[in-house]
């Protein structure tokens, strides 16, 4: 049972008047994450929208100690900090509970540029949480194609729509055999809160990926951020699951789609609302390219259904 909204704590870790766009899914998700992590945490940021929304010196919009690191080093920097904290604790220079070290990184810093360091940190099983807020493009620099961009999506570097399917990062992290992997999205805050609370209690490397529909990059109307995130889950384009020690369990409503109790909504409705796919609809081969996208989603659902049966 997910935590009810009314039971979420009162304190805010993301302060009002930050520099993010209106309707930004990153601050929306970070607020919920902040409620789960509490003030005793250290935040690492690679170049992303989250850094741009920190505000201007000498003011800071996030209520944590924040460290801005270079693009490729989210994993290795967090590793270094966790090791330093452990040694300080050992030497008696640090009293009380160790702070949670977490990185808040976009899909560029996770899928493409930061992958090597993240993979190495996962292999070392360092005690940290890596959050990837996935807006499926390099939105901070004006929407360029990234490894997370889905097939058919328009970006400034794929003007006719991306031809390749997206990389499946959550599954890659799952195969690193780390203690905890989860996916979440902004439309289900109770689910996200529970996953962060669980991740906080587990020692070792944790990876949580949050789908963040960026209205600027995806080209839909600004107030529909949460709606779009919900549509992604209902159409099966984004599955909500968590894996503790490689054991996958699905969360509602994705569990209903996986078990066959509810049909996934056709991808058309979800795709139609986004400006980044409109060129696709206007092209001559529109039907076959939408069929390709639907096939990608169906394939992923079928794969995850079977993958969940493997428990090691």
């Amino acid at each position: 049972m997910t935590t009810s909204i009314k039971k979420l704590p009162d304190f805010e870790q993301v302060l009002s008047g930050n520099g993010a766009c209106g309707g930004c899914p990153s601050t929306m998700a970070l607020r919920i994450v902040g409620k789960a992590l509490g003030p005793n945490a250290i935040m690492l940021l690679t170049p992303s929208c989250a850094v741009a929304s920190m505000g201007m010196t000498p003011k800071l919009a996030y209520n944590w100690p924040c460290i801005n690191v270079t693009f490729a080093t989210a994993g290795s920097s967090a590793s270094g900090i966790t090791h330093a904290l452990e040694i300080m604790k050992e030497k008696g220079r640090l009293q009380g509970e160790l702070p949670t070290v977490f990185s808040w990184v976009g899909d560029g810093g996770t899928y493409d540029i930061g992958f090597q360091a993240l993979s190495a940190a996962a292999e070392r099983n360092d005690n940290m949480i890596h959050f990837c807020y996935n807006n499926e493009a390099y939105s901070n620099t004006g929407v360029q194609r990234s490894g997370a961009t889905p097939r058919g999506s328009f970006t400034t570097t794929t003007p006719t729509g991306k031809r390749q399917p997206k990389k499946n990062m959550t599954r890659l992290m799952l195969e690193h055999n780390i203690p905890y992997v989860a996916t979440a999205t902004v439309a289900y805050p109770g689910d996200l809160y529970d996953k962060v609370i669980k991740a906080k209690s587990i020692p070792g490397m944790k990876y949580i990926e949050i789908l963040a529909p960026c209205y600027l990059g995806w080209q839909f109307d600004m107030p529909e951020t949460v709606k779009m995130s919900r549509m992604a889950v209902r159409s099966g384009a984004w599955l909500l699951w968590e894996a503790e020690n490689g054991r996958i369990s699905f969360n509602s409503p994705s569990s209903l789609i996986i078990s066959g109790k509810r049909e996934a909504e056709p991808v058309n409705e979800y795709v139609m609302r986004q400006g980044r796919f409109t060129r696709l609809f206007k092209s001559a081969a529109a039907e076959s390219r939408i069929a390709e996208m639907q096939a990608d989603i169906d394939c992923e659902i079928a794969f995850m259904r079977e993958r969940a049966k493997i428990t090691t």
């Binding site: 909204i5 009314k6 979420l8 302060l15 520099g19 209106g22 309707g23 919920i32 505000g55 107030p223």
Partner: protein, 85 residues
């Protein structure tokens, strides 16, 4: 010779309004009708800006960017977006 012993400390501190008075970005202002509102707190949880007060459902217009997520997500339709003067 000038001394270089400088105390290093964090140069940014958490404060509200790190991006300025972001309320000036707004084109439409969310207005809550307290008679229809059933205090479900969905607007509070989805607000990316943390400007909605949780129990009374009042909005801090100094920082509200007017994105309209609260108005779309409100199940009773108690929040309407009114054009800014």
């Amino acid at each position: 010779m000038k001394s270089v012993t400088k105390a290093y400390q964090p140069i940014s501190w958490p404060t509200k309004g790190a991006g300025g008075d972001t309320g000036s970005w707004r084109t439409h202002r969310p207005v809550v009708d307290s008679h229809i509102c059933n205090k479900c707190q969905l607007c509070w949880v989805y607000c990316p800006e943390a400007v909605i007060e949780r129990h009374e459902i009042t909005i801090d217009y100094r920082y509200c960017k007017g994105c309209g997520v609260c108005a779309v997500e409100c199940p009773t339709g108690a929040i309407s977006m009114e054009k800014e003067e």
